[in-house]
């Protein structure tokens, strides 16, 4: 699947832009703050009905304007698809597929699979364990609604159990019968969720390893491990054991809501020992593994957005990544960069179809391709 044309009006700092893309490699080059990432965000928006960065739609409108429009012409499974999104201040946003408006936005999400790698993803390594659980959950629930349902129910039961513990403490009472019903729900759902996460990590781990080895040339030993209290013994027993502590803490101290992913470099935690470049490599490998996973459960090939990928990585690694994503296992790619020389050197060597766009303060011009012929001016303010 790929996006053939994108048209943007008043989205973030982009006043009016119309672009035609290569089905393979597309690069946006320009200085800081000119709107490269906003172009990626526009493409992201058309897939997920929201911005990657800012979920408040009124703040995604260009300053002093009243509305924004995003329109994409896609080719999906050899069919043309026109996706339109319009948002006007004070109104509901409109999403149309081939001129037909969606009743619910959730019907659209999943139609145009997409993976974005952005510098803000470092929270996956540096942030708390909730970031990593969110990563696992969002990937698994993409094609497993049952899992999502179990997760919602688990969190609900957890909330109720914690409330009950607080009630016990506030009223100086203890009703084991009452607690037991929530324990039973947590155990039943928690064990299923734990099993699913285990399976998922089992599938993800080798793919991740493959990508990391490729990008780093196999010089570094990294591991990705699923950690859960449930892996260490039966959940029901642990809940019973922790009861006294839970009553003091007034919340539940064991369960899958404490799960984490252990990211290691050699024998040490990535968070503490990894260099910035290693962390970035780790992240890219993880996200590419996610890409593989999403591709395997979707009919259409996902689009890959690489935001500021060259930052902090050495030239060798960058070339490896570009080579990797130009291959057949990946579809259409979008890359942003501040420095043209990087790409000028690397991209022609890769040999895939490409287009380079120069972005200057909200305007975009095409600045090179390998289709032969002069680069044509696509849009100029």
């Amino acid at each position: 699947m790929y996006i053939k044309e994108l048209s943007v009006i008043n989205f973030k700092n982009l006043e009016q832009v119309e672009l035609e893309f290569s089905h393979k490699l597309n690069c946006f080059i320009g200085n800081n703050g000119v709107g490269k990432t906003n172009l990626l965000d526009g493409i992201y928006y058309l897939s997920f009905c929201k911005s990657y960065f800012n979920s408040v739609d009124s703040q995604n409108i260009r300053h002093e304007e009243e509305f924004f429009v995003l329109q994409g012409q896609y080719s999906r499974l050899d069919e043309d698809e026109n996706i339109y999104c319009g948002f006007q201040k004070g109104q509901k946003k409109k999403f149309r597929r081939n001129k037909k408006e969606y009743k619910r936005l959730s019907e659209h999400i999943g139609l145009l699979p997409l993976v974005m790698i952005s510098p803000s993803d470092t929270s996956l390594i540096m942030g708390g364990s909730d970031e990593r659980r969110k990563f696992m959950d969002s990937v698994i629930s993409q094609n497993d609604r049952q899992y999502l349902d179990q997760l919602i129910r688990y969190n609900r039961a957890l909330l109720q159990r914690n409330n009950l513990l607080k009630y016990f403490a506030a009223n100086r009472v203890f009703e084991p019968d009452n607690l037991e019903v929530w324990d039973a729900q947590l155990v039943m759902l928690g064990e299923k969720i734990n099993k699913r996460r285990q399976e998922f990590l089992g599938e993800l781990q080798p793919i991740f390893q493959k990508y990391y080895d490729f990008i780093s040339d196999g010089h570094e030993q990294v591991t990705l491990e699923y950690q859960s209290q449930l892996n260490e013994g039966d959940f029901e027993g642990q809940l019973k054991e922790a009861l006294q502590r839970d009553r003091v803490l007034q919340f539940t101290s064991v369960g899958i809501h404490k799960d984490d992913l252990e990211l290691k470099l050699g024998d040490f935690p990535m968070k503490k020992m990894g260099s910035q470049g290693q962390k970035k490599t780790y992240l890219v490998a993880l996200k590419l593994a996610q890409f593989d996973f999403i591709r395997s459960v979707n009919q259409a090939m996902p689009i890959l957005l690489l935001d500021d990928i060259f930052d902090k990585l050495d030239g060798e690694r960058v070339e490896k990544i570009v080579k990797l994503v130009s291959g057949n296992t990946f579809g259409q790619i979008f890359i942003t960069d501040t420095n043209r020389e990087h790409l000028d050197q690397i991209i022609p060597r890769v040999g895939a179809d490409y287009r380079i766009f120069r972005v200057t303060d909200g305007a975009v011009t095409e600045n090179g391709n390998n289709n032969g012929g002069e680069p044509k001016v696509v849009e100029n303010n």
Binding site: R145, Q146, A157, Q160, L164, N178, E180, V181, W182, Q185
Partner: protein, 208 residues
């Protein structure tokens, strides 16, 4: 309408009372009150009487805890119903829904809510003890749990089940799955998944 000045204190009082009702804001309250003012006095008296009598004279059936005019409600005092089967529901609205199906001929037990620590509702606040007592006393053969399919409903089901386990009474639950007249492609995956797990023999479905 933030700080409205009403020309009449009587009017203001009435509006304030109406605005306490669920789903009624100040504007709607004013509209209702002005409407009442336009009606005949007798009509308005009948209206206010019905509310006063409702509050003063309503009772809860001493058997099933349903709202009733008499000590024992119509359903519980009906000899032709099957008193060996008790359907456990949250409130009177559920009783009415199940009655409307005309498929149920047993009796009810109204819990008055479901267990939810978040809302400060524990088993002791519900009519669970009276249900256990009822099962212990009478000739009850089956309990049908008909609570909402939420986390809280499930937990309440589980609590009741645990409490009734020793009595040996049969405990069943409403079937969960595809609703009648649905096209498969529009059913959410969780429900459809549950329907496949809980499938039934075709023979059983005949004549239903």
């Amino acid at each position: 309408m933030t700080q409205d000045t009403f020309p009449s204190k009587l009017l203001e009082n009435a509006v304030t009372e109406f605005a306490k009702l669920p789903g009624i804001g100040k504007k709607t309250a004013l509209r209702l009150v002005l409407h009442l003012l336009k009606q005949d006095k007798e009509d308005v008296h009948r209206f206010s009487n019905s509310i006063t009598r409702l509050r003063d004279e309503i009772r809860h059936c001493k058997v099933c805890r349903n709202i009733s005019d008499t000590e024992v409600c119509n359903i519980c005092s009906n000899e032709s119903r099957d008193h060996g089967t008790i359907c456990v529901v949250e409130n009177i609205r559920d009783v009415m829904s199940i009655e409307n199906t005309q498929q149920y001929h047993g009796v009810f037990h109204v819990l008055g809510g479901i267990i939810s620590p978040m809302d400060g509702i524990g088993p002791a606040d519900l009519e669970i003890d009276s249900l256990i007592k009822r099962v212990g006393e009478g000739d009850v053969k089956e309990i049908i749990l008909a609570l909402s399919t939420t986390m809280e409903g499930d937990s309440t089901n589980f609590y009741i089940f645990k409490k009734l386990k020793e009595s040996g009474v049969k405990v069943s639950m409403l079937a969960r799955g595809v609703s009648i007249g649905d096209e498969l492609e529009y059913i959410d995956e969780v429900t459809l998944g549950r329907s496949i797990i809980n499938r039934q023999l075709f023979e059983q479905s005949l004549g239903q």
